[in-house]
């Protein structure tokens, strides 16, 4: 299989790999995801393009990108504070009226109420999205939804 990547290397820190494909079952990427994640950092560029491709407006798109980035940052800083090779799953869905993003890590959070920016990251997630839920089981999943129309 050939995988073509648009990727960027920005700054330092944990690697973030965002994989997406249109109209297919994403599990076909599972085989390469772990290998790619060791070497590549892809943050936001592809999600932005994917939202644009689905006709999501810039205001909603910016809000979703911000919330998604903060959720991934939280997963890195909390879920994987002791594990530089932890995997984070980002699953995004667009329907006629809603954008939903789910960010899952498989680590353990020490404190659900705090984050790297003194609570500001979680505050930004809650303010930029319409609905935010946390599920803690084997790891943490944050599910974020926003209407595609005007800002709240």
């Amino acid at each position: 299989m050939t995988v073509k990547l648009n990727h960027r290397f920005d700054g330092k820190g944990p690697h973030v790999l965002l994989l997406h494909a249109v109209g297919v079952d994403l599990t076909f990427l599972d085989a390469v995801a772990a290998k790619l994640a060791r070497d590549f950092t892809v943050l936001r560029a592809d999600l932005r393009g994917w939202l644009d491709a689905h006709g999501v407006g810039p205001q909603c798109g910016d809000a979703v990108l911000l919330a998604c980035s903060e959720a991934v940052a939280n997963a890195i800083e909390h879920g994987y504070r002791n594990d530089p090779f932890g995997m984070i799953d980002v699953v995004a869905t667009v329907t006629a009226d809603t954008v939903e993003v789910r960010v899952t890590d498989h680590g353990t959070w020490r404190d659900m109420t705090a984050d790297a920016a003194g609570g500001r990251g979680l505050q930004l997630i809650r303010q930029s999205m319409d609905q935010v839920t946390f599920d803690r089981g084997n790891g943490t999943t944050v599910t974020m939804r926003r209407r595609r129309e005007a800002a709240p």
Binding site: V3, L5, N6, D10, K12, L43, L66, A117, R120
Partner: protein, 120 residues
Amino acid sequence: VIEGRTTTEQWATFSRHGSAELVRLAGEIDLTNASDIGRAIATHTTAAGAVLIDLTEVSFLDSAGVRLLDALAGDLVAHGTPFRLVVGERGAARMTLQLCAFRDELLATDLERAAAELGG
């Protein structure tokens, strides 16, 4: 087989605008580069008489970026250095700063007007 394309971006450039130190930020500012950018800005602004931070070309700003701007603003206030942040009326940087209730009196939309306010 993995093919790739790398984009290296420049996030901070430094110049003078009148008597003020002008810091132009560009691209995506987040967890991965905010502390590096903060250090670069600090070295250029500690001795400045006035500081303009132009964020109009910033396409993304996260909470780490806001933390960087908070720390910078705190340092400049502590030194008594007048400064302004120039941010577009719309866009990602404006959205993040508004959601964080960043101090509105420090924000300007026009570089020349902000410079004039600083006496530059």
